[in-house]
Amino acid sequence: MYFRLNPECYLILGEHSSVIYDLIEGDVHSLNEYETQLIRNCENNVELTTNEPLLDEMKERCIGNYYTTKVFIEKLRLGSPILDYQPGQPPFIEKAFLEINNTCKLSCGFCGSRHIRRSSGCLGCNTWQEEGTPLEEEQWKEVIDGLSDLHCDSVYFTGGDLTLKWELLQQLLEYAQKKFSQTFVSINSRRFSAEVADYLEGKALPIIQVDNPAHIGTDHQFLLVTDEREEFLKQIRSSKNLTIDRLVRDASELSPDSRLISKSKIQKTNLFRFTHMKKKHPCLANSLTVSWRGEVLPCPMLRRYSLGSVKEQPLYELLRKNSEGFDKFWGMCLEKIPRCTACEFRYACNDCRALEESLTGDLNGKALCRYDVSNGIWV
């Protein structure tokens, strides 16, 4: 008798333990060392000689099944693993952040200009202590055309305070209409008036940045910037239209059950996410930012890593001539991060390279994790 995992269930090995990813139900099942060895043997078509209750349980839960002969289990997948990664394929940009301005009259304590570490700072607005000349309207339109030609899926207009460049934003939003699947605008709640809301209706989805939970509404997407503890955040996490942007001074100050470092950071899986994370970073892959002064960055929060300037060359030329520079970020995946390489959760984990780099000083560093890979336990 043999036992094999179902096509949709992938066994991913860690240093000693492992995890079964169920790509249809979305569950991530942890296995200890003994269970890992058992399932490994099963997956290698080693015949069963004893009864194993774990396998019965797996059959009950429809994770695997018994077979009387050796079978081949073709794994559920998306696309073609061979053909989809051939050289010369046209690039696909998943998302692009367009920093329309770098000015703001507010003085938020968590602004990028104050070098505050944030877990989702890219979705909010920031100003930066940078010198330079802002891009003009025509230059932005060329960027938008370039992104559209390169099959960009989503665009995030951000700043500074976008209401200080309201006319420019309007021109660009009109210009960007129908060029992308989704268009977002990041705006501080203090600037999100009824007129702004009315204008954006049908043109872009606002992401409203708040620092007070009382200001979270139900009719838009909100970004709550906070340093509240996890017990408080649990009470408000159930809102589907809310993203928490956690302020982080140091990894050691975070409570053990914080979503940034505990087992809660492990997300449900699915076919798309799993396929993506096997080869790509959950956030950096195929993403770019065009800063207010035309610099192309891998992420709004990774300011030190310039990939070129759209003032000098169009986006496609930057991609062509600096493919190595882009690949450094677009080719990144958790498997290549030293602390994640041997972690069985690497295809279900959240990760912000900007935040990790800020905490560790190393683009491949990892401070936000309480999982002891060697012993297979969350500490």
Binding site: N6, N45, Y67, T69, L78, G79, G88, P90, P314, E317
Partner: protein, 489 residues
Amino acid sequence: MKFETQSGTKYWFDNILGISFPLNTSLEILLTSNDVTDSLEKEAADHQRDAVFNSRFMKKIEKARQYAHQYPKEQITPEHLKRQILREGLLQLTLSVTENCNLACRYCCYSDEYPNTRTPSHKMMNFETARTAIDYYASLLEEGKRFNPQRRPSVGFYGGEPLLNFQLIKQCVSYFKETYPEIDALFTMTTNGTLLDREKCEFLMAHDFSIAISLDGPEAEHNRNRVYHDGSGTFADVIKNIRPIMDAGYKNCHAICVFDWKSDLFALQEFFNRAEVPRISFISLPNPNDGCTFYQRFSREDYEKFLKTEAKAFQSYNHQIRHSAGVDSFFDQIFGLQAGRILYSVPALIDGTSFMIPYTFTCLPGRKIYVDVDGNYHICERINHTFPICNIRTGLDFARIAKIVEDYRSHLDLCPSCKVQKLCNICYCDFAGTGEFIPSSKICKNSNHDLIKGLERAFTIAENNPSLPETVAQGYYTWLSTISTTMGD
């Protein structure tokens, strides 16, 4: 679609998911029943333990099927098409530099065996035509850069026998490199090898040509079909001529092998495993479609004998791979690679190779541009010349291409209901009549049988050596990407 391996294990190929999974009796009932609810109840009564698993598994399968990409039903516009071509196409410009050939190969697609294709002639392409085609291709690449800055283009030389117009080839390479030094194009050539002398070999190697040599096996095999006009064999000349290339250790020389129903597959296996023989890049039987009469020379006995030899070869390979996997052998190309294609290159959950053409393994016209001696543009070198996509005077006619694609789609009458649609590996040239496509209901009967046989064999191989299909496919396509920009199609 159910199939069975040699071990007796039954599998189900799910055409929406694009994968197969093992069957038990009761799961088979569920999958083939029209009323799943009744079947589930019957299931519960008959096989309690399996019933829970099967019903949950079926629900999971249904959930997964929701991910399947739906192809758009709107009409294809020339503007949309042009954008797609600029983004995904333009991978190769192929110049047919002559319609002449010094050989009279018996299965040649330009012979009397294929009445829908052109016949050989003494026509030669002139430099003016070639230069105009190159300039236009370069202009398209320039326009297309903004959509695909990482594309690596290639310029191929074809015939007849292209080396009959070697002067033109030299002129084209020189012109291209001098006029477009910023374009890093791969040069390719398909040649019968009989005219390769030292000068030509040195030229081709100096310019890093990807050289495809038509080589059908050891002498007896090769000379059965690949002959001069007087009927004499060409093997000795070909082997002598490629020796300098092989002795130089040149990596970009590879063999294209055509076999037929009289081929001794074991003799081919022994021959192509020799170190001094180029690695095979492509192997096939002669195309049976497009009005082909080649197969009429074989008797029923020939065909049945071939099937027995092929089955024996498969058994031999299957036995070998239980203990090891050689990735360069002839049988790896025939059996291992086929398994690898089925298991790892079929696009799962996504329609076809392009969302514009959801069925068959057909590319978008414009992926390649084939230019005949008169300067007419065609979809590729394999399709007959009754489907032009315009000419060097006017450039690509996107409205005409859109019409061809719509016309092609409209003839795929059997495809929506085909249960092995995702495995399809045929394309335009298989459906091409004279200026009109033949419906898939008339073409596909034998293809489906072959695809199912392919599934049976792929899973038989995978049961014996689970990692072999992926290893062979990965190795082959990685190597292929160094000698071709079009995946060898």
